[in-house]
Amino acid sequence: MTDLHRIVIVGGSIAAVTAVDSLRSMGYSGELVVLGAETGRPYARPPLSKGLLNGVSDSESCILQVDDSSADFRSGACAVDLDRHDSQVILADGERVPFDGLIVATGARARRIGQPNQNEKVVRTLGDSLSLREVMRTSDSMIIVGAGFLAFEIATAAARAGLTVTIVSRSTPLRAIAGPHLAKLVIDAARQAGVDFVTSAAGVRLVGHERITGVEVDDGTTLTADLVITAAGCLPNVEWLASAFDVSNGLVVDERMRVAPRIVAAGDVASWRGPGRSHPRRTPLWMSAIAQARAASASLLQLDPIPMPAQYAWTEVFGLDVKIAGTIPPRVSPVVIDGSFAERRALVTWTGGESGAAAAVNYHLPIARLKALARQTRETMSV
């Protein structure tokens, strides 16, 4: 099928693990090396801000089930450079790992807003989540800087643990990703649970060094709390590729996840130019990482393209179980198919976005049907 004898996967999370499974099930029988920068077993990130932080699941349930015989999994192997001329990945300790085919799956890291000498807290790794869960037990108040679902998931866990919670953001939270109607539903549920909202259009400044004690907002006042968490998105881990590729706008891949001959990428690191997209964009979501890893594996083995499924995301916030297929257009009103926002149980669709979108709020529906609904919305629109 190909003349590849040694494929190296750089990364140790779901995209890397899925790539191993995919390559093997697609018939690749050559050498397979996985270089993960973190120590310990590969784990799933979705529970870190949901079940694990809430205390309803344990860290063992986050560990991914990896077939050790399928690849040489190396942890604590941090790639610092790529030598394209000699086809070698260079590790922090100077070791050179040669490859015939390369899958870049180095993921992303939390975006930080403070100074390097500030002990800023984020929720990105298993360690972050476990230590936050522990310190929440002895804290009374928390400020979360962020406007996305991660901020609301952390707030859900904190409110449940009895902390008073304030969410600070530049503009109305969730609007850009969920549209005003769904955003309002979630914000109202958070308010009812006692969460305060503060807007600081110019951003915030973290106060404190060894321990962040508060945030200064744009009217000059300082809000204080026992815990201050930054949930301001993520940045792709592309710096190690800077000598090999132009990564000033992230690592751009084509519609089949190809970077260059024999080099593909998948997961949070990859800026993808999907159908309907005007420019490449990262899709840092669990299901996207899985779909992209399959597509990247097929591309590397020069097999037929695997169709990319519609984008899918879910969140659990303040008693709302929200599942979203497609990308919600922020300035379009949703059409309620069943239920209602008022009863907090609704099946809704949007037209006018790049993909069509559908969401289920506290509404049981197989994901395939939710995706079909999003797809039909798009097709109706284009007629």
Partner: protein, 68 residues
């Protein structure tokens, strides 16, 4: 190969149903139905079953190899 469902962990996302509809489905109440519960997964479905195990974000599916 056998796949066990750890029911207390299952949150009904249905990602397994999406990748392995021949093995997993959710009923109207969101309860997971496993077509081969307590049985060996047919050889031709093993790769699919493995994919379903990986895709579960709450590790509610567990691979048990025969003879273990």
């Amino acid at each position: 190969m056998r796949v066990d469902v750890i029911r207390p962990r299952c949150e009904g996302h249905g990602l397994c149903e999406e990748v392995a509809p021949a093995i997993f489905s959710l009923d109207a109440d969101g309860e997971l139905i496993h077509a081969f519960e307590g049985q060996e997964i047919p050889a031709e479905l093993e790769a699919t079953a493995r994919a379903a195990v990986t895709v579960c974000p709450v590790a509610a599916l567990l691979i048990e190899r025969s003879g273990q």
